[in-house]
Assembly symmetry: C2
Homo-oligomer: 366 residues x 2
């Protein structure tokens, strides 16, 4: 998407690769929304660190970063010995994999690169194929989000007020995003609408990342406390809800997403407001049989007990908000049952959650 | 309630009066939970400023502060001329009233003091009656909260997990509080239970004031993001919800309270969890016929766009969290319909919201 820097608009991807310098280029997301900076990572170890330290986050974005990181790593191998090359490749793979040990996207992305590579007969061919495969992975991510947006924009009419939660935006993918894709596509089609961004405590990705994205695209928006959406729904001020998903169960249509998503789905149901989940196909879990089996990450108490931001002196600081003697409980995700979800927006079209399983071939069931 | 200072527990009221020095004593709530300090206000102008600047907040607490402030002001009059005394009294009254022009509690409290005063025949008698009436107002506030707690504690069984929202605690009253009264009474009766405090963005009164109160009373508690309560209800981790109210409609049973209350009521209904509202009788509005007529205060955007807390250097600071270019929408309250409320806990007993009107005589209908 476009970013305006010193008054000039320029296109950026969240993740890119510069072949001449063999470097991975990432938007430094930890500095957003207060500073926009692209960091250049000179070798695969630096790329692994960037994944680990959350310079980049979001399923699509870390998948593409790992794919590029693998290509970056294998391209530095010197020699013609295929066996030594395979050993080197394995070290690169493991280094990148261990950067986010519980995430499945980097591994899936790197496996896709490995499969393509093996068709090469020489080290040089394999190095070249690795980069081509990583580029293809990133381009596919963009293409999927584009198609998702094309389907999702049909839900948006001019004058609508749309609620979104957390950041399933282009910063979480290579470009365009999932929950934001219908917004960007609708805007490009000339529709005008207003977006309410849940601030999305405790990490505030709605107030920081989604609001930043929408501001860059000049989409009308306001940030609201997570507490306020129910009131707005009651007063008829929200017409549509679109959120992303970290894992969608193909068998049941249940959706795991950022904590608070379930609450918004319950409220939308009460008020008869359409509630949509936008997902890339890689997010569908075809194996798991119940949402109660999805592990819910328990995150650090400090996230709930305070906040990160910019002081009046312009310094980025963490402040403790809560009573010093008190602890917190901080589940990172919740699970929304299929009955609360109007539809699931995918690159292959919009489906009722209960229909995912019967359309599994079309949806890339593996 | 008791506050522990340097290892020693001591009883405090939120608002008190020291007759020898003619000063109003307030807990400085803006410094909580990080610093506990009692400020002494030497004259009625200082007391009015303390109300205006929110050293003290909460319906019961600002009512008692204004009552004491009126007594404090009239006690400084020198002379025997009743007409001049009446003029002086009027100045004191208006000064205190204008400190929070939209609040009804200071005016009601001061009118109660005025009614008692007029039975005195001399200036000296009226001065003495004013203080007695202010003391009685404060004691009545405590007594009402005590009775409310006695009724409400019957809802609490040992082992329960109880959710509360915002701060309807003793800091919002002279002592004991409304939503917290059943907790303190149940604890005194030997029941053990756990409280989840919604942090209550954007002003975080749950994470700061309620958590501080519960920590002082050694009641087991944890702070949660406002987004997390739905997940906990879904997983069977919440047995009871108790909140306060800023205005309860006697005719319909609708409840206006801190933004986010409605959301919790909708979630509780879905999960069959009892949802109670604890109120002093002064909160009941017998005139208004629809919750949609309750004016919803639109508060400053900065509350949503950032947070107040303590930096690593121990300084109290506001930080900007949100994207600098984005605005916010910040309704301060929402309205919960009667159908979502299991019962209303009052000093006169627990009533179904729809029963308030038929019990109006018992509930102080005026």
């Amino acid at each position: 998407m476009n970013v305006t820097i010193r008054g000039r608009s320029r296109h950026f991807r969240t993740v890119a690769f510069d072949a001449p310098s063999n470097s991975v280029q990432l938007i430094e997301q930890r500095l957003l929304p207060h500073t926009f900076q692209v960091v250049s990572l000179a070798n695969y170890r630096q790329t692994a660190c960037a994944i680990k330290d959350m310079v980049v986050r979001g399923a699509g974005a870390i998948g593409a970063t790992a794919a590029y990181g693998l290509a970056q790593g294998v391209r530095t191998f010197r020699g013609r010995n295929l066996e030594k090359f395979a050993k080197h490749t394995e070290i690169v793979f493991q280094t990148l994999k261990s950067a986010r040990p519980t995430a499945v996207d980097p591994v899936n992305a790197m496996n896709q690169v490995l499969r393509v590579m093996t068709s090469g007969e020489t080290v040089e061919q394999r190095q070249s194929l690795a980069l081509a495969a990583a580029e293809e992975f990133a381009n596919e991510d963009v293409q999927h989000c584009t198609e998702l947006g094309r389907h999702g924009m049909k839900l948006i009419r001019s004058g609508m007020n749309i609620l979104t939660h957390c950041n399933a935006g282009w910063l979480a993918f290579v470009d365009i995003g999932s929950a934001t894709a219908p917004l960007y596509a609708a805007q490009a089609a000339g529709k005008s609408f207003h977006v309410y961004c849940d601030e999305t405590r405790p990490r505030s990705q709605g107030a920081t990342l989604t609001a930043w994205e929408l501001a860059q695209q000049k989409i009308s928006h306001q940030i609201i406390a997570d507490n306020a959406a129910g009131h707005f729904m009651q007063r008829g001020k929200i017409d549509l809800v679109i959120v992303g998903s970290d894992r969608t169960l193909g068998r049941t249509g249940e959706v795991a997403n950022k904590i608070g998503t379930y609450t918004k789905a319950v409220l939308a149901k009460r008020h008869g407001i359409p509630f949509y989940v936008a997902i890339p196909l890689s997010t569908i879990d075809w194996q798991m049989r119940s949402g109660f089996d999805i592990p819910i990450e328990e995150r650090a108490e400090s996230e709930v007990l305070g906040a990160w931001g910019i002081t009046s002196r312009g310094r980025r600081e963490y402040i403790r908000v809560a009573n010093p003697g008190s602890g917190a409980c901080n589940p990172g995700f919740d699970v929304t049952p299929a009955e609360l979800i109007t539809g699931i927006i995918t690159p292959a079209g919009i489906f009722k959650p209960a229909e995912l399983w019967s359309h599994r071939k079309q949806l890339g069931f593996v």
